[in-house]
C-alpha cells in the first residue's frame, strides 16, 4: 500500500464520517461544521486525483464562502441552539435508510471501473507536466469553454440581484 493509497483512504474515511455526522447532529451549527470537515477532506481527495487547482477552489469557494454564508444565516435566524430534534420519526428513518441504501447499491453497481471503460494512462498528470497545474485547466476554460464561462458571469449577477431582492425587507 503506497502513501497515495493511505492518504486517499484516510481522507475518504474523514469525508464519510463528516457527512454522517452532518446529517445526524441536532444543532444546525454542528451540522455545518461537520460539513466543513467533509469539504476539506474532499479537497484533499482532489489533490490525490491530480486536481490541485480544483482543490484550492474547493477550499476557497465551498469551505470558505458558501459555508460562511450558511453559518451567517443560521446565526442571523438565531437557530444555533439545539432545539427539539428535527429528525423525522422511526418511519422517516426507515424510509431514508431504505432509499439511501438502495441508491448507494445502485450507484455502486453502475460505478465499477469496467463500466467506465478501461482506464487509460493518467491523462491529467501528463497534461499538467506539459502545461502546468493551472494552465491545464485554464487553457481550455478560456478557449473551448469561453462562452459557458462568460455566461457564468450573467448567472452570478442574476443570483446577486435575486438574493438582494428576496432578502431585503422593503425595496
Amino acid at each position: 500500500m503506497s502513501l497515495t493509497h493511505i492518504v486517499f483512504w484516510t481522507f475518504s474515511a474523514l469525508a464519510v464520517v463528516g457527512a454522517a455526522m452532518c446529517i445526524t447532529r441536532r444543532s444546525p451549527v454542528a451540522s455545518a461544521l461537520w460539513l466543513v470537515q467533509t469539504l476539506f477532506s474532499l479537497a484533499a481527495l482532489f489533490v490525490v486525483l491530480d486536481a490541485q487547482f480544483i482543490a484550492v477552489l474547493q477550499v476557497l469557494v465551498y469551505a470558505g464562502a458558501i459555508m460562511v454564508l450558511f453559518l451567517f444565516v443560521i446565526m442571523l435566524l438565531n437557530l444555533g441552539r439545539a432545539g427539539p430534534s428535527d429528525l423525522k420519526g422511526p418511519a422517516g428513518l426507515a424510509v431514508a435508510t431504505l432509499l439511501g441504501g438502495l441508491l448507494f447499491f445502485q450507484l455502486l453497481r453502475g460505478a465499477t471501473p469496467s463500466a467506465a471503460g478501461a482506464p487509460a494512462a493518467n491523462v491529467m498528470a501528463q497534461l499538467q507536466q506539459e502545461q502546468g497545474i493551472v494552465g491545464a485547466v485554464a487553457r481550455p476554460l478560456f478557449s473551448q469553454y469561453l462562452i459557458p464561462f462568460e455566461i457564468t458571469s450573467v448567472l452570478l449577477l442574476a443570483a446577486i440581484v435575486g438574493a438582494v431582492v428576496l432578502a431585503k425587507r422593503k425595496l
Binding site: 497515495t4 486517499f8 475518504s12 464519510v16 457527512a19 454522517a20 452532518c22 446529517i23 445526524t24 451540522s31 455545518a32 460539513l35 467533509t38 481527495l45 482532489f46 486525483l49 491530480d50 486536481a51 487547482f53 480544483i54 477552489l57 474547493q58 469557494v61 465551498y62 458558501i66 454564508l69 444565516v73 435566524l77 437557530l79 428535527d86 423525522k88 422517516g92 424510509v95 431514508a96 432509499l99 439511501g100 441508491l103 448507494f104 450507484l107 455502486l108 460505478a111 471501473p113 467506465a116 482506464p119 487509460a120 493518467n122 491523462v123 491529467m124 485547466v137 481550455p140 469553454y145 457564468t152 448567472l155 452570478l156 443570483a159 435575486g162 438574493a163 428576496l166 432578502a167 425587507r169
Partner: protein, 98 residues
C-alpha cells in the same frame, strides 16, 4: 489510479446526502445535504477527469459557480420564509399540502 475507490466514496457521500434530505426537517440542514450531493458528483467528475481528460475538471468549475449562486438565492428564500413564518421547520411550511 484510484478510479474505482473514488466512485465508491462518491456513491457513499451521495447516498448520505439523499438520506439527510429525507431524514431532516430543518430547511437549512436539508440545503446543506444538497450541497453534500453536489460535492459527491464533483468527486466523480474529478476522478473520471484523471483518465478521460480535462473536461471533467472544467465541469466541476461550473458546478461550483452554480452551487454558489444557488446557495445565495436559496438562503435568501429561507430568510424570507423565516420572516413570514418565524420558523424554518418544513413541517410548518405546508401551504401546498392538499
Amino acid at each position: 489510479m484510484l478510479l474505482g475507490p473514488s466512485l465508491a466514496v462518491s456513491a457513499v457521500l451521495f447516498a448520505l446526502g439523499v438520506a439527510g434530505v429525507l431524514l431532516r426537517r430543518n430547511a437549512i440542514v436539508i440545503f446543506m445535504c444538497v450541497e453534500l450531493m453536489l460535492n459527491a458528483v464533483n468527486l466523480t467528475f474529478v476522478a473520471l477527469a484523471q483518465s478521460l481528460g480535462v473536461a471533467g475538471q472544467i465541469f466541476v468549475f461550473f458546478v461550483m459557480a452554480v452551487a454558489a449562486a444557488e446557495a445565495a438565492v436559496g438562503l435568501a428564500i429561507i430568510l424570507a420564509i423565516y420572516r413570514h413564518k418565524q420558523t424554518v421547520d418544513l413541517q410548518n411550511i405546508n401551504l401546498l399540502k392538499g
